[in-house]
Amino acid sequence: MMRNALLLLASLSLSAEALAETVQVAVASNFAGPMELIAVAFEKSTGHKAAVSTGATGKFYAQIQNAAPFEVLVAADDTTPARMETEGLAVPGSRYTYAIGKLVLWSAKPGFVDKDGKVLKNGKFAHLALANPKTAPYGAAAVEVLNNLGLLKALEPKFVQGENIAQTQQFVATGNAELGFIAKSQVIKDGKLTGGSAWMVPEKLHEPIRQDAVLLTKGKDNLAALALLAYLKSEPAKAIIKSFGYEF
């Protein structure tokens, strides 16, 4: 009896092993935190594995164009995935918005940033960090906010640009830049600010940061890739995404 049960177990785990695949995912830096948790939950729930690489969406685009082995792109914007669909790098119709990103003005110093963002106008600071607006959606949104506040000209000389949103946060976290525009997901955990001080930038000040995920051509036959794209829309994944301050 025991022996049979063991055999059954072994055959079950073998068949699960045979079905389990690994998906190579390129993930925008702002989504690195939630993706880490989602990958674990995804593995538990489906048996598939997600190998996650994080970085700037623009860089991933260049790499994928040159045959990088990624199968799913979890981007920081909606234009890159759309462009990839038309260029044949991604499966047409596979993209959808998995989250809407939120911009925050953040300082590692408690009390440095007020809750209305007046610090931008009145505050004394030498450096304002933001992600490269040419390549990073959060950087572009930050420029849009400053433009709408009429502060772009005055603050531009104080800009220091991170290569991606993670490096931008690092400039601020180390205190080398007094404050900076980053993604809410980087400083919010379980709905609370993890440290420092922040201004949650109102949505009316910039175009919504729609973040799309897309199935890349390389992953079109990979079960794990399809499963991951489905899992990102599931309730458990949504709960994780929401806990980092994203909206839908």
């Binding site: 030498a126 450096h127 040419k134 800009f159 640009q161 290569e163 180390t174 080398n176 830049a177």
Partner: protein, 223 residues
């Protein structure tokens, strides 16, 4: 070439010139000491100077970012002196690049000094030349190929720097956006034409540097 790329080229040349000049001044006494000393500290100092050869640029960039930041030792010092903080500034890049390119300047000069041996120094002493006179009239002319190699390598290595600058530079036009960062920027923004201009230029430049170095070598062998 677009204005942004031109600005990056100018800035890079300015940075490499400043770093090379500083390194020749700082590196020469270090090389002299390393070549002549019998001290037990020689191995230690030699190892420290050569560290950037083997360290990933990210390690140096990371520690420099922390050290020069508001909570770091260098940061405390520069703030105390009223200089502000060094990350994201041109002087910050110069200081980091001096550390980063140090072995490329010290080692060729040190080798040239070692190759001189005792004889020219003894000859100069019998002619009653003082130490400074000996150094500038005898040592420097004899070690010239070493100095030229050091200057070329130091300059070229600074021009080719990327990881460190990316970590402490903040990509500021005219201050810290050097050629390598500008190329990276162009590639990320999918501006491949502009990227080609700079990247192709770097290939040509690097080739010419190495060609110059290898052309120098027969002269070195003559001694």
């Amino acid at each position: 070439m677009d204005a942004a790329s031109l600005g990056a080229v100018q800035l890079t040349l300015k940075l490499a010139t400043a770093v090379t000049a500083l390194l020749l001044v700082i590196g020469t006494p270090i090389a002299w000491w390393l070549a002549r000393t019998r001290s037990k500290l020689k191995a230690l100092v030699g190892a420290i100077v050569s560290l950037p050869l083997v360290l990933p640029p990210t390690v140096l960039g990371f520690y420099m970012l922390l050290a020069m930041g508001p909570h770091g030792a260098i940061g405390h010092l520069t703030q105390f002196l009223g200089l502000g903080l060094l990350p994201f500034t041109f002087p910050g890049l110069v200081i980091t690049s001096v550390i980063y390119s140090m072995p490329f300047v010290v080692q060729p000069i040190q080798n040239a000094f070692t190759a001189l041996g005792e004889r020219p120094l003894e000859a100069a002493a019998t002619l009653r030349a003082g130490p400074w006179d000996t150094f500038f009239s005898v040592v420097v002319p004899l070690a010239r190929p070493g100095f030229i190699t050091a200057a070329i390598l130091g300059f070229a290595h600074t021009v080719g720097e990327f990881g460190v600058v990316l970590m402490i530079g903040g990509n500021i036009p005219g201050k810290t956006r050097v050629i390598s960062v500008q190329i990276y920027d162009h590639v990320e923004a999918m501006e491949y034409t502009q990227a080609h201009w700079l990247a192709g230029g770097m290939v040509l430049f690097s080739f010419l540097v190495l060609l110059a170095l290898y052309s120098l070598q027969p002269a070195t062998r003559g001694h």
